[in-house]
Symmetry: C2
Subunit: 281 residues, 2 copies
């Protein structure tokens, strides 16, 4: 499908994209840039990475597909830095967890010749970095593709992610940000507040939990810098989502405090009814 | 270890205890009672269940170990109903998620001849019922054993759960309730409020989430009646835990609202530092 796939930023997602691309024949050659010398060494030793470069400019030269796999606040500046080297026919996309600002900034800051389409593969792990990457991470997961680009590029971006084993969904960047504020960023905020609250209790309590504690808090182990950038970039959508959660949590707390079994049961039932289908498929 | 293990209530945990007991040779014979005719039929057809009875009295007759696997508010009344039939030398225990009220009520309501020791195996699933039971559910999990009983019985209870593959921890019933309010009941309340909040959004958003959404909300799929009883039984310990969470969540929300990156990063870092060891072992 592509002759040369260039990955800018070789963390969890960058490494997973390269592995899936090689495994599934989506790219003949995979090359990478990382700002970290340690990660560049891991790339040099990985059989799925054909070449690794010290600069983004060197990594994108001659690539027909470029994927920016850096934190949300670094994506557009990074692409702008190497924009003149990117082939004008290349598909340029990203993996950022927010889309409205990135897609709008890309329009403003990238030269007309750069064929940018925003993407967001909904796949991750609380364990970051190149070493945790794997092709399976992307399999059967959803990838959002922003609908505000040239039809030819949108089509190419969808085929690219589908080639890696993902389901795709075309979406307006603003709608994307509202959806992920609720299904990704809000759960992260809730999990982080829960872990931060439990961090105040005796340390040995952490080992008294079962699967419920592990699962409910899992994502909060993620890189705090990455998540700070995501929460701040999407704050306009996240703050209302936090308020919606707060209203429900306060409703539960108040029902328990005043001994209103009926209200408590109604809330627990609404939650169970909403969540059960995810356990059953 | 035991000649005849009697399980009162053949749901997820009752079925898992029987399977582990048979598989690991902890009991020669496993018998069960369930109030549901459908579950009694499942018991009758299961190779790990040697006999099933219509009444708890019939199920406990001649058993040297009795385990009450019913919701927290039903445990002591159920044992009281069949107390005169229970052998005075039998180990009588439970799987209830709260311990202070159950252990105290057991002392008041059960005749002196009933050798009750409170237990709480920290193992579960959001999918309830006999059909989801399996011996693996208990493996390497923690089981709390209440320390307010006869030393002979405490020792026997610990050996029983260890025989099923669990780690045990002796605990004061009140301390147990404070711990689980934080590591089990609070996470459930948080997950339930999150799912209930998301249930107000478009139904298709549920399918846009990745592993983070699944994991953070998983436990909220659990039986609402079971969890209503647990939250109400342990409300004295849970309400302060809910307040501790609320303070952290409000801190996060306020940091995001006023653009205080440093405070936001500090909270996300505290959460990540606390949670990371659970992902690394």
């Amino acid at each position: 499908m592509f002759e040369k796939l260039s990955i800018l930023g070789a963390g969890l997602l960058g490494a997973s994209v390269m592995q899936a691309a090689k495994k599934r024949g989506v790219a003949k050659k995979c090359v990478a840039w990382s700002r970290s010398a340690g990660t560049r060494e891991l790339c040099a030793n990985a059989d799925f990475c054909d070449a690794v470069f010290d600069t983004p400019e060197a990594a994108v030269a001659g690539a027909d597909c470029v994927v920016a796999c850096v934190p949300v606040d670094k994506i557009v500046p990074l692409l702008a830095d190497c924009a003149t080297t990117i082939s004008p026919t290349a598909l340029v996309t990203d993996v950022g967890s927010t889309k409205a600002a990135i897609c709008s900034d890309a329009k403003k800051l990238l030269p007309a010749g750069v064929g940018f389409v925003g993407s967001h593969p909904m796949a991750g792990s609380e364990l970051n970095g190149f070493a945790h990457g794997n092709a399976e991470l992307l399999q059967n997961r959803l990838c959002f593709v922003a609908n505000d680009a040239e039809p030819r590029l949108i089509d190419l971006a969808q085929k690219f992610w589908q080639g890696l084993g993902m389901r795709t969904r075309l979406v307006d960047p603003a709608e994307h940000d509202a959806i992920v504020a609720h299904v990704s960023h809000l759960p992260h905020a809730v999990a982080a507040a829960l872990s931060a609250a439990l961090a105040q209790k005796p340390a040995e309590w952490r080992d008294c939990g079962a699967g419920g504690l592990r699962d409910t808090t899992r994502v909060s182990a993620g890189n705090p810098h990455v998540w700070q950038a995501i929460l701040e970039e999407n704050r306009a959508e996240i703050i209302p989502a936090l308020s919606e959660f707060l209203a429900k949590f306060s409703e539960l707390k108040s029902a328990l405090e005043r001994g209103d079994s009926e209200a408590l049961l109604a809330l627990l039932s609404a939650a169970s009814n909403w969540r059960l289908p995810l356990s059953q498929n």
